[in-house]
């Protein structure tokens, strides 16, 4: 029993525990301006960390021997997100009834997400059922998105949400995992063929017939995403596809062809769609229209600039001035209150998570596990880069959540599922 105790993980969990509990205490004391407090005032952080530690202990009890680093990393990122949401609560509550009890809801999502993660890690011993039904996942993902496109709920000009009873689900968050599972399974099956070349006379050709299913699946999903007016997700799907084809084939030429076609698509989209031009304009100079289309970006810029090196301190800034700060611009809120040190810390956490994910992929013994881990890690990495690059105005902004940190149920659950699958792949005693 002692030998199986996940001591590294347990030690690493000290950081998120202290950060979430002391952070919440800071927020509470700063907002009340007194030194009186009670354990009940910080129950949300305690409830969250309690669940995290309980799951870590359960991993030990069930003798789970997988990676011990990514779970604490995830907990810390989620903890920061939970802090930011609690800190933003007063500002958000003023926006309307839809924003009520946001921290409590986030806690609920976190619990459900943690439960799902634990379930995947502890009860799903084998992953080959994922591999076997690959076309089911692919077709299912695309159908789900088409259904959303037709019957979905429209929020801010984009139809990305599907109402299921009392819940609304962002279906692209489920589809992204479905498509990676399909790609991983397909690539694992046709590994050798994809690396092979066709010779026609003096020319080498890529094995086009074997790439076709990938391209078709991907084209379908892209089409749906573009029709949904969800450029961030389109960029994510595209990036993940390129990443997976590259790790499977090792051919930079595939990536180049992909990038060229992407460049072409961008130029075409720029000429065709006014909203794409608007995004490019707001990227290069949001000050051209600082009160309307550039408003959010300009406000985010003010927030980041006011943070400086150390930030204003949790609850001492005013990130509430940024519209959508809890979802698209959560990083700007971190920048204002925790400063450059805070934003660097978040970047480092994501970087370690991504490198750990690739490490798991390289350690995996079966091809499906390898591709699955690499694909899931690519999702996390590329999604992070798309939203952070947009927030700091390195690339045009496309609305997408910052994994684990942004408020939101669907993205939180799907990202927990990703971590669960990564942990599953990392188990050395897993039988394919």
């Amino acid at each position: 029993m002692i030998g199986r105790f996940r001591f590294t993980e347990f030690q690493l969990l000290i950081v998120p525990s202290l950060a979430t509990i002391i952070g919440l205490l800071t927020i509470y004391l700063a907002s009340t301006g007194t030194l009186d407090w009670d354990w009940r005032d910080i129950w949300i952080s305690i409830a969250f960390m309690g669940a995290v530690i309980a799951i870590s202990l359960w991993f030990s009890v069930t003798k789970f021997a997988g990676d011990q680093v990514i779970f604490p990393l995830t907990a810390l990122l989620c903890g920061v997100g939970l802090l930011v949401i609690q800190r933003l609560e007063p500002a958000l509550a003023a926006l309307g009834p839809g924003y009520a009890l946001l921290p409590e809801r986030q806690l609920l999502y976190l619990w459900v997400g943690l439960g799902m993660l634990a379930f995947v890690v502890v009860f799903i011993r084998r992953l080959d059922w994922l591999r076997r039904y690959k076309y089911t996942w692919a077709v299912g993902s695309i159908l789900l998105m088409i259904v959303t496109m037709i019957f979905g709920t429209e929020v801010k000009g984009a139809r990305l949400w599907l109402s299921v009873g009392p819940f609304t689900v962002q279906t692209s968050e489920i589809a992204k995992i479905g498509l990676v599972v399909f790609l991983a399974a397909y690539l694992a099956e046709n590994e050798d063929l994809i690396v092979a070349k066709y010779r026609v006379g003096p020319f080498n050709f890529p094995p086009i017939p074997y790439l076709m299913p990938i391209v078709v699946m991907w084209a379908f999903s892209m089409l749906v995403v573009v029709a949904q007016n969800d450029l961030g997700t389109a960029l994510l799907f595209f990036g993940v596809l390129l990443a997976m084809i590259y790790v499977a084939s090792g051919r930079l030429s595939y990536v180049l062809v992909g990038l060229l076609s992407f460049a072409g698509a961008v130029v075409l989209a720029y000429q065709q769609f006014g909203r794409v031009q608007l995004r490019v304009q707001n990227w290069l100079d949001p000050w051209q229209d600082p009160l309307d289309t550039g408003f959010q970006q300009v406000q985010s810029e003010y927030a980041m600039a006011s943070g400086g090196l150390f930030g204003s301190g949790l609850a001492f800034g005013s990130p509430g001035f940024i519209p959508e700060v809890h979802s698209d611009y959560v990083f700007a809120a971190v920048g204002e209150e925790l400063g450059l040190l805070g934003t660097f810390a978040i970047l480092m956490l994501f970087l370690i998570l991504v490198f750990r994910g690739f490490f798991i992929a390289m350690q995996a013994r079966d091809p499906f596990g390898r591709y699955l881990a690499a694909g899931l890690t690519s999702i996390l990495a590329i999604q992070t880069l798309i939203i952070l690059g947009g927030t700091v105005r390195l690339i045009p902004l496309t609305g997408i959540t910052l994994p684990f940190v942004s408020a939101g149920g669907s993205s939180l659950l799907s990202n927990f599922l990703i971590i669960g699958l990564l942990l599953r792949v990392s188990d050395p005693r897993r039988t394919a």
Binding site: V247, S249, P290, F316, L340, L347, A361, R370, L385, L394
Partner: protein, 550 residues
């Protein structure tokens, strides 16, 4: 070989980042992004994983993918340094007024709690220009000296931000600019209000009032400064606005807010732009006053002396454009020295000079005198332009000729013209212009004392002396002869700038006066005022005389 390439790429990437970050506002966002993209490529080469020959395809490509993602994370980090540290104060100070009168500003400015302790502003003799009065929730900011309106700016954090000195010295006036950053931070955390610092200006409110009175109900601006130190004695403009009626703070009542916004709307809708601080931000065609710069260029580049002769036959054709001379006092004479040409403001001669020295020399001297750059005055100022941003002097000989005598696409601020005058009067050196002489804390201790600093030295002392000869000639027998003041050596240049559109020309005067110990420079513009010698010169003369009377 491989490692040498890595070192070269890494060094180049670091150099690009450091250079781009230190270039600050000189680099546009676009240029910075391009540099960052190039840095990304360099970093990818520098960090490309080596020694992977015996790795499996999967492991090798995964490592490479991880490297590319690492580069992307590194670029975001660099961008964060730029956004949060390097560009931080520039972003926070950024405030714009849209054409329909809405103000874009950092909304955090609105969160000022208590303005009870905000500092006061005094003129150089201790006369109150701005002070905070009242107590508790009944505080208000008083601007008792109408002549200082515009220059001191307004303070309206709840609605329209702030401008002028109120904006430029906001931290000091609010008492935030502490000597000790740790104590400052502690004050913020403990919600302790520090008394604001007071500003002592170099401005003499009497002379400022004189300038405003003489401009009367005409639109215009006047600058008076000490050429040896850069201290600004007067910086006036008309029309202006009443900052008393724009003040708001956290305790402002609803009714007051309505009044303030009604007044604001009125100001925004007026066609004579009362919100613009004309002396530093107004852009005008300089007309003949620009000949100071053309003459400085031809003298300092060694092409001519004041005694060099030029031909003026009353007409000059340049690539199809005909320049007709209207300024010769004697139309039968065709040969004129440079000194006479300057005194009589002969356009044909200056067009010839422009073509003689050429576009490059003219451009170089414009840059030397500070064109294209914002003069470093503490209230901030707009850069003057030699040509429109999209055109280049070298492309057009007619543009060179027109520019040389002060028309073309030139747009200058009154401050810039005063600084050209200052270079001539001060032996070829331009001192940094400044308005705040000292900053005093709540206990009456001087926290900061301005020390005069040189901004640039566009020409040699000998050239400046030759230019003084031209200016004095202009003010003794030329068109600026009305500027003479008894007991002082006076030099000057008038200008009557064509504005197009059928309006009356702008009237200009730039001049200096010295008693051997002190030297003052002035620049005056009266918009659509007619002849410079009639409309602008008397104001400049009175300001110069007034400066010595004090």
């Amino acid at each position: 070989m491989r490692s040498a390439l890595r070192i070269v790429c890494m060094t180049a990437a670091l150099a690009a980042i450091v250079y781009g970050l230190t270039a600050g506002s000189e680099w546009s966002d676009r240029r910075w992004l391009e540099a960052l993209a190039a840095t990304g490529v360099l970093l990818t080469i520098a960090w490309w994983p080596g020694g992977t020959r015996y790795f499996s395809v999967f492991n090798r490509s995964t490592l490479r993918l991880a490297t590319i993602l690492l580069v992307a994370f590194a670029l975001i980090s660099v961008q964060l340094v730029r956004v949060q540290i390097v560009q931080s104060s520039r972003t926070l100070d950024r405030q714009e007024i849209t054409p329909d009168g809405q103000v874009v500003q950092n909304p955090r400015e609105r969160l000022i709690g208590n303005t009870e302790n905000r500092g006061a502003i005094y003129d150089r003799n201790g006369v109150v220009l701005v002070e905070q009065l009242g107590a508790g929730e009944e505080t208000y900011r008083s601007y008792p000296a109408p002549a200082a309106h515009g220059l001191v700016g307004y303070y309206s954090p709840l609605l329209y931000g702030s401008t002028g000195l109120e904006a430029a010295y906001d931290d000091e006036l609010a008492g935030r600019e502490g000597e000790n950053p740790v104590l400052e931070w502690l004050d913020g955390v403990l919600y302790q209000d520090q008394p604001g610092y007071d500003l002592n200006l170099t401005v003499d409110i009497g002379l400022q009032q004189l300038a405003v009175d003489m401009l009367g109900d005409r639109r215009g601006a006047a600058v008076l400064l000490d050429a040896e130190t850069g201290a600004v004695v007067a910086l006036a403009g008309t029309p202006t606005y009443d900052p008393n009626r724009l003040y708001t703070d956290g305790d402002t009542t609803e009714q007051r807010l309505t009044e303030v916004s009604a007044y604001w709307q009125q100001l925004v809708e007026r066609s004579d732009a009362p919100l613009v601080l004309r002396a530093v931000d107004g852009l005008y065609v300089p007309g003949s006053t620009f000949k100071m710069l053309t003459a400085s260029a031809v003298v300092d580049s060694g092409t001519s002396t004041p005694e060099t002769f030029y031909r003026d036959e009353g007409i000059l054709e340049v690539d199809g454009r005909v320049i007709i001379e209207q300024n010769r006092p004697d139309e039968s004479r065709v040969d004129w020295t440079l000194e006479e040409s300057f005194a009589y403001s002969l356009n044909v001669v200056f067009a010839r000079i422009g073509l003689e020295i050429g576009a490059d020399v003219l451009q170089e001297y414009a840059n030397r005198f500070g064109f294209g750059e914002e003069p470093p005055i503490d209230v901030g100022a707009t850069a003057s332009q030699l040509t429109a941003p999209e055109s280049r002097l070298v492309d057009s000989r007619t543009l060179v000729a027109d520019t040389a005598f002060g028309q073309g696409e030139l747009l200058v601020t009154p401050l810039q013209m005063a600084l050209i005058g200052a270079a001539i009067a001060n032996g070829g050196e331009i001192m940094e212009p400044y308005l705040v002489d000292s900053i005093v804390n709540g206990d009456g201790e001087v926290v900061e004392q301005h020390m005069p600093e040189r901004w640039r030295d566009p020409m040699s002392a000998e050239s400046a002396e030759a230019m003084q000869q031209l200016m004095v000639a202009s003010a003794s027998y030329g068109y600026a002869a009305g500027a003479q003041i008894e007991g002082l050596t006076v030099g000057g240049k008038t200008g009557t700038a064509e504005v197009g559109g059928g309006g009356e020309p702008h009237a200009w005067f730039v001049g200096y006066a010295t008693d051997g110990e002190r030297t003052y420079v002035t620049a005056v513009i009266v918009e659509n005022g007619g002849a410079g010698s009639v409309a602008a010169l008397p104001i400049g003369r009175e300001l110069l005389a007034g400066a010595f009377a004090k």
